[in-house]
């Protein structure tokens, strides 16, 4: 019983993986925005990035 369930589950995992690859899924988190005005191309400063003001790690041991 469990083996049958596992076979079904395994094919589901493979199918999801194949579908994800086909559709171009990624593991990175990207913020999506809609309706960005076309004026950004001529005036890049008019666009406010979601990530501006990020606290930068200065590294070092």
């Amino acid at each position: 019983m469990f083996r049958k369930s596992y076979l079904l589950y395994g094919f589901l995992v493979l199918g999801t993986t194949a579908f994800g690859q086909y559709r171009g899924w990624s593991l990175d988190t990207i913020n999506q925005l809609k309706n960005v005005p076309k004026s950004v191309r001529d005036n890049p400063g008019s666009y406010r990035s979601v990530y501006s003001g990020y606290h930068h790690y200065t590294g070092g041991k």
């Binding site: 083996r3 589950y9 995992v13 690859q21 171009g24 899924w25 809609k34 930068h56």
Partner: protein, 441 residues
């Protein structure tokens, strides 16, 4: 057929025969129609010879404990595996192991047409037991019965502590028999050696609720404690088969990965080097790249950033913007690399390049808006930005691999711990525990 021959009668109807104990006069009920060798008086605990019309006294014993009570009362009838049986006898037996006494109960069941069979109960674990019809072959640590191999579990001396009712043998309290158990869950093969006589029996594990249903007993059966020697594993599946299935899935996953890797276009659509200059950045630092085309349908887009940083960082606010639809993917990436020497030697952290994969980007005309920031101590820095369309994401295969592996590992672990518990009670424990022998010297 002569005239004086009585007509052939049908099978006798089950009837109990009533007698009296020769010691105390209490009523003795014989239920097994002459199959009993001994019967025990419930009143004075005399073991009587059931074959003797006068019920000769064979032994009288004292009850050592008052908590011996059969869970199924004598005379209770029930249907076990499709056959009606009546409980006619009960005994408690025990073994000594490492100074601890382990006791279990055995019930004698009788059917006038099927004969005798037994039920045993230990800590809520039940076995349906019958005498072997063929002689098993035992060799070393295994025994073969009807083509099935049983593994040796334990050998011990079992003594009879308490008896009640009828028994198809000459039972005595205090009697000791050498018992050897071989298991092949859910069955157990047992040999009992008493003097020079060896009796083989075969038992099959039963759950308490099955016994309760069979004898229509009130309440709930005692909860099974621990793992019994022939208790079937809750992991009913073939663990080795699961690993074979996992290996097959892993191969398929590998094939899928190779297939998509070959199929992926990995098409570079932008590769440009830019210069960050702190003096220029005081004004508006952001700028846009040339428009590039992403063709061939929805796919991943990889954005690579590299910079020759050394104990500095550079941070780029990116926006991949579709010129036609206004859809944008906004993300920030940092490239930083730090290194030095200390008492442990050379150390480093970070990388001089960064990669990010944007998911499911439709085809169209795009440009990147880039807004660089950098370490205040960095006056200027060259950095390269590359955009590649349709790249495989290998991390997804890693997640899929784990998703396939985890259930098999969990099942294997569960099966392993169950078998480990089972065999820890045997003569062949998985791990020999060493006992300290006193360190007072």
């Amino acid at each position: 057929m002569s005239a004086g021959t009585p007509p052939i009668a049908g099978p006798p109807k089950p009837q109990a025969k009533a007698l009296n104990c020769p010691k105390c006069g209490a009523a003795i009920v014989l239920r097994s129609f002459g199959q009993a060798e001994t019967v025990v008086c419930a009143s004075c605990h005399c073991i009587l010879d059931a074959k003797d019309p006068n019920l000769a006294i064979l032994q009288q014993f004292e009850i050592k404990t008052s908590d011996i009570r059969p869970l199924i009362l004598l005379g209770t009838r029930g249907k076990l595996r499709g056959t009606d049986y009546e409980v006619i006898g009960f005994q408690r037996r025990s073994i000594q192991a490492d100074g601890i006494t382990y006791s279990w109960h055995e019930y004698v069941l009788f059917n006038p047409y099927k004969g005798i069979r037994y039920l045993s109960e230990y800590n809520g674990h039940w076995n349906d037991i019958s005498i072997c019809k063929m002689l098993p072959m035992s060799e070393g640590t295994s025994a073969n019965y009807l083509g099935e191999i049983y593994k040796h579990f334990q050998t011990c001396d079992a003594s009879t502590d308490f008896v009640l009712g009828e028994f198809p043998w000459q039972v005595r309290v205090g009697e000791k028999a050498a018992v050897t158990d071989y298991v092949h869950p859910p069955r157990v093969l047992s040999s009992e050696k008493l003097d020079k006589e060896v009796t083989w029996s075969i038992g099959e594990y039963m759950y308490g609720r099955e016994i309760w249903e069979a004898f229509k007993l009130h309440g709930a059966p005692p909860e099974a404690m621990g793992v019994y020697e022939n208790q079937p594993s809750p992991v009913t599946t073939n663990v080795a088969g699961m690993w074979v299935a996992f290996a097959a899935f892993a191969m398929l996953l590998l094939a899928l990965m190779a297939g998509f890797d070959v199929r992926a276009k990995k098409e570079p659509v932008l590769q440009q080097t830019f210069y960050y200059n702190r003096a220029d950045a005081k004004g508006e630092a952001s700028f846009v790249t040339n428009v590039f085309e992403l063709g061939g349908g929805t796919s991943t887009v990889e954005v690579n950033t590299s910079a020759a940083v050394g104990n500095h960082w550079i941070y780029l606010n990116y926006a991949l913007i579709n010129q036609d639809t206004g859809q944008a993917w906004d993300f920030g990436r940092e490239v930083s690399y730090y290194f030095g020497h200390d008492s442990d030697g050379f150390w480093s952290e970070g990388k001089r390049f960064d990669t990010v994969v944007i998911p499911s980007v439709p085809s169209g005309h795009y440009y990147l808006r880039i807004e660089p920031e950098a370490d205040p101590s960095l006056p200027s820095m060259a950095y390269s930005v590359g955009v590649v369309r349709d790249v495989p994401v290998f991390g997804i295969y890693g997640i899929a691999f784990l998703a396939l592996l985890v259930p098999v590992v969990m099942i294997s672990f569960r099966a392993y711990t169950f078998e480990r518990s089972r065999w820890s009670e045997s003569d062949h424990p998985p791990m020999q525990l060493s006992s300290s022998s006193g360190d007072d010297e």
